[in-house]
Symmetry: C2
């Protein structure tokens, strides 16, 4: 059962998803997330599809219900993303509700779809006759893209013939309209590009790939149409193969990149791939929050300038975290380079995982790295997580990624099976002329020991490739029959164990989980003079709830030499399983001169000792709405 | 000839504007600003009133022209603010264009005004019959307030009977509608409150004061009406006498404060005054940029949280700087406390003055303290200054304040004439039973020597009060016949010279203009570990244009012990008269670890020496659109 991104047999990729994979999570955090997904998040979201009017919009379009279109022009995509979620969910076991939702909705879409294949409830209900007249804002291709992704997911898991039929008729319609048409025909919000490539992969229909190529190539020539935020915001300022850096609206940019890499993988367009990889590198180096979050500004939801990474004012949209993982994953497949999996890990365990509450009920759209005590000035965004939103892009971005998460754990390249992410699971795949069965046991991310048992193996040599994250400063490996020894990963950040395996043999990888203080590059102005606590893949934060009485989070400081003490909790109220970190910190109180918060150089602040406690950032705001900060001032000891 | 804010004879104020004042600027920076105002800014703005449709809107309302209303609902206020500008300008000398603009426009407003006194071109032209139906957003009272201020200005300078007539008819109409009416009737944008008090002062009509009181008192009871940004944004969350801190939309908040203080001054409402003063204190201590700029967020144009003062992302709207000066000035009159003049000075010479280009042609609406090299991600705001805007509130806020600026220099209290701001000028006023004539000679803000010559004096004792800014760490005074001696200002930040004066006697005040490094309060996260260069009242900034070739502004750092060397320029190209500051700084280049801008604690950066140069912040961006920063990282020497 395949997940997202299955390059065609002839694709130009360095890595591929495992062949004929069977994956089962057997415990740990990923499984917790998936249980929460199925038990709580998905049912709530399906309820919201009714409450928000997103499903009703299709019934109205089908002529089965009276009423006005509700929600944003892209409300259809909420439905499509939940269809995709349901399809991925069903690979882990049957569920009558999900099965019914998938088949009922596929049937509804079939009835709502127009004779020529067009399907967009907003335009059918609210603006009939105006289809494709304002693609800069209409999201018509964007919604189509999400439908294609849902159909591909269904196709790869449950079959989903009916949904695939709807998707193909819509895709054929797009080909008829936009392959033939010499006019602009570019959606202001990319997404359909990557989806068309995936639809090509699922169906073998070359025209879908051709249409994706056309949409990628025509971008950057001012054809999207005028928008108040400008061509850059809509990624129409430079051709995709020329733009030197990510820019503009973050989610738009990331979806476009995913499409560009998918296209390059299928066509062998090295220049296109290299352009995208160069932008990824610049993004990682200059525009990425410590949590992996992307998008420094609420205004326009844009990246912001190089090194503009404010902890408090950053948007770091949840959809952007999910899209970043999707782009990185495609680059990993295309190039085989380990750094892409490193950023997937950072983003997944921090910016992405923090978006949803521990109980799976509520979501942040924006994911800042700091919240001040009062935070009364919130404008335009909710102060806390919410179950759903008028513009509800983020919740189903979480559910669909969580539902497909196990597919991001491994790849194969030649005779090597790579493990990029570590979670307790059983994984089997066709490999080396037979079947490889692996069992991964680990308490990751709480502990750094990963035990891989080869349960099943074909005869002959093949290799196991284990990613060593860059934060693991010392790493140990125990091979079958060998002694525990310290290892240095290769240039790709991996250790390879190549041998003729026998069933039952084990490899033990031990990553260094010593908590560490991380400091920013000197060009990041917003957190200069501060440090963050990290342990393993987890970024930590200081929440008001954990600090000593009378000590405000905003007064905290850490001595550079502070000892970081690890505290393991089987079930901390509100958080569940967690590891907290404690340190002998300080509370700093400063005086004001002349009534202003500025003083002459040399002013001395009052410092008093305070034992401070940090929790994983991804678990923040599950115990009241107090202050929080990831970056804490560093003071000389 | 009086300026803005002339408390009535019975007002409860500690200070008053000088009695029967005559003020003439005789040179220096204020005069330069005023010459630029008259020669360039005002003519350009009058041209834009035509180009934007703001004047045409009134002609359409008067039935003299065909067409649709153009511009925002508050476009009328652009006209009113230019009327106010013209009125203040005419006190310095005749100008046919300004006189014609004043009288022609007064006549146009008279023709456009409805029989019942209502005057608002948007509602008359675009939404007839909908007046007062959505005050939360309509700006109808806001526009009326600006008209009242224009009429009061005309009344105090040129006479302006016709304009005053229009204003009174509109004010009478408002009294009829909103004194009688038991309904809500509160404008979402305060401004009319302070204007009504001033109209009361100019006319003696008590009902205007009563209406102002009613509007101040009813605010904070949820009567403004629902708005997507919430009651807090519209200052309707708490009664004005209860709100503990400034919040919400900055300009709205500041105009309301000005009205509250005006009202308290006229009614002796100590509690109302104290509430406003407490909010001012909190604002100064926790939400004020080093430049005096206010408003940390573009989204909602709100203050932001306590200590949320990002140098790059702050809005610091030009209108907010002007409004801050207006509020501080009213508090100075009401309480006599010197700190208000300190903030007026900081705001005037930095945040406010930076808004307009040196040539007087273009304006910033937002005034950040940092601009990065690329700044390609601008969304929603212009990347550079512009001549005018669709929402053109800021340019006429500059012209009207510059035109009335000399009135912010002095007050009287008892037998003392106070000088709060220093500029070369002649000032005469009725005082101590006769006429006091002062001549102030100074090269302020470039130099700290201020010579006050008493040209004319009544017999008997009276005192001269000179403000000593808090940045002057050592101050010297030379009294008539006395020796130069170091002085310590009183608790109000002033030195007083009381004597029986003889004409021709001089007092020389010498302020310490040694350049200094200023550091932020430890709670300001965004500029931690950085310092700013200041000299006298001026905040300095580093622009790319002045740095050594190959050294980027974003790489600059200053050693804590850096010697700051002063360079005086009679006419630096692009800037004119200025004083720059040079230091032996550093350029710091940091490495990236694992491709991310974060590193393990202890990473060492490459440093190379660089002679760096700072210019006054108010003169920034007059030589190309390069990078700029006020706050620069501080490194141990």
């Amino acid at each position: 059962m395949h997940g997202p991104v299955v390059p065609s047999p002839d694709a130009h990729v360095a890595h591929r998803p495992p062949d004929d994979p069977h994956i089962r999570l057997t415990g740990g955090l990923w499984q917790t997330w998936q249980h929460v997904n199925r038990a709580t998040s998905v049912p709530l979201a399906l309820g919201w599809l009714e409450k928000s009017g997103a499903l009703a919009n299709f019934r109205i379009a089908a002529g089965e219900e009276e009423g006005a279109h509700r929600g944003p022009v892209y409300a259809d995509s909420d439905v499509h993303k939940m269809l995709e979620t349901a399809a991925w969910e069903l690979q882990y076991g049957p569920d009558d509700t999900l099965t019914a939702f998938l088949s009922d909705t596929a049937s509804l879409l079939e009835r709502a779809q127009q004779d020529d294949g067009y399907l967009d409830s907003h335009y059918q209900v609210a603006e009939p006759g105006r289809r494709y007249t304002r693609l800069v804002d209409s999201h018509e291709h964007y919604c189509a893209g999400h439908l294609f992704q849902a159909a591909v997911a269904a196709c790869r898991t449950t079959g989903g013939e009916r949904l695939l039929g709807v998707a193909r008729r819509l895709a054929d319609h797009l080909c008829a309209e936009f392959l033939a048409d010499a006019g602009p025909g570019l959606d202001g919000h990319p997404e359909v590009e990557t989806a068309l490539v995936e639809l090509f992969r699922a169906t073998g229909e070359e025209r879908y790939l051709t249409l994706a190529a056309r949409m990628v190539e025509r971008r950057g020539h001012g054809l999207v149409g005028r928008h108040k935020h400008g061509a850059r915001h809509r990624l129409d300022h430079l051709p995709v193969r020329e733009a030197p850096a990510v820019t503009g609206h973050v989610v738009r940019a990331l979806y476009l990149e995913a499409g560009a890499v998918d296209l390059a993988a299928e066509t062998g367009d090295t220049a296109l791939l290299e352009a995208s990889a160069a932008r990824w590198e610049d993004m990682a180096a200059t525009r990425t929050s410590l949590t992996g979050g992307l998008g420094s500004r609420h205004v326009g939801e844009v990246f912001g300038e190089r090194y503009e990474l404010p902890p408090d004012l950053s948007y770091n949209e949840t959809c952007a975290s999910a899209a970043s993982i999707q782009w990185s994953w495609r680059l990993l497949l295309a190039t085989g380079e380990g750094r892409y999996a490193d950023l997937v890990e950072r983003t997944l365990y921090n910016a992405f995982a923090a978006a949803r509450s521990v109980d799976g009920r509520t979501y942040y759209k924006g994911n800042p790295l700091q919240r001040r005590p009062d935070h009364a000035e919130a404008v335009g965004d909710p102060r806390c997580r919410d179950e759903w939103f008028w513009s509800a892009c983020c919740p189903p971005s979480v559910t669909r990624l969580v539902a497909s998460l196990p597919h991001y754990a491994s790849t194969t390249a030649g005779d090597t099976v790579f493990l990029h992410q570590y979670a307790p699971m059983e994984l089997s795949c066709a490999h080396a002329g037979g079947t490889v069965g692996l069992r991964i046991d680990t308490d990751y991310p709480w502990d750094g020991v990963v035990t891989v048992t080869v349960d099943r193996t074909p005869p002959g040599e093949w290799a196991l490739g284990l990613r060593v994250p860059p934060w693991s400063t010392r790493t140990w490996l125990t091979e079958p029959g060998g002694a525990r020894r310290e290892v240095v990963p290769d240039a790709q950040g991996r250790v390879l164990v190549r041998r003729s395996w026998r069933a039952g043999e084990q490899v033990v990888l031990e990553l260094d989980m010593t908590p560490r203080l991380t400091v920013p590059h000197p060009r990041i102005d917003a957190v200069r003079g501060s440090a963050a606590v990290e342990r393993g893949p987890l970024v930590y934060c200081f929440e008001q709830a954990d600090q000593p009485a009378g000590t405000e989070v905003d007064e905290l400081a850490l001595p550079a030499g502070a000892e970081l003490r690890v505290r393991d909790h089987a079930d901390l109220p509100g958080l569940g399983r967690t590891v907290t970190i404690e340190a002998d910190g300080l509370a700093v109180t400063g005086a004001h001169e002349a009534g202003l918060p500025y003083r002459a150089l040399g002013a001395v602040d009052e410092r008093r000792p305070a034992v401070v406690t940090a929790v994983p950032y991804f678990q923040w705001d599950n115990r009241g709405d107090g202050a929080m900060r990831v970056w804490v001032p560093l003071v000389s000891s």
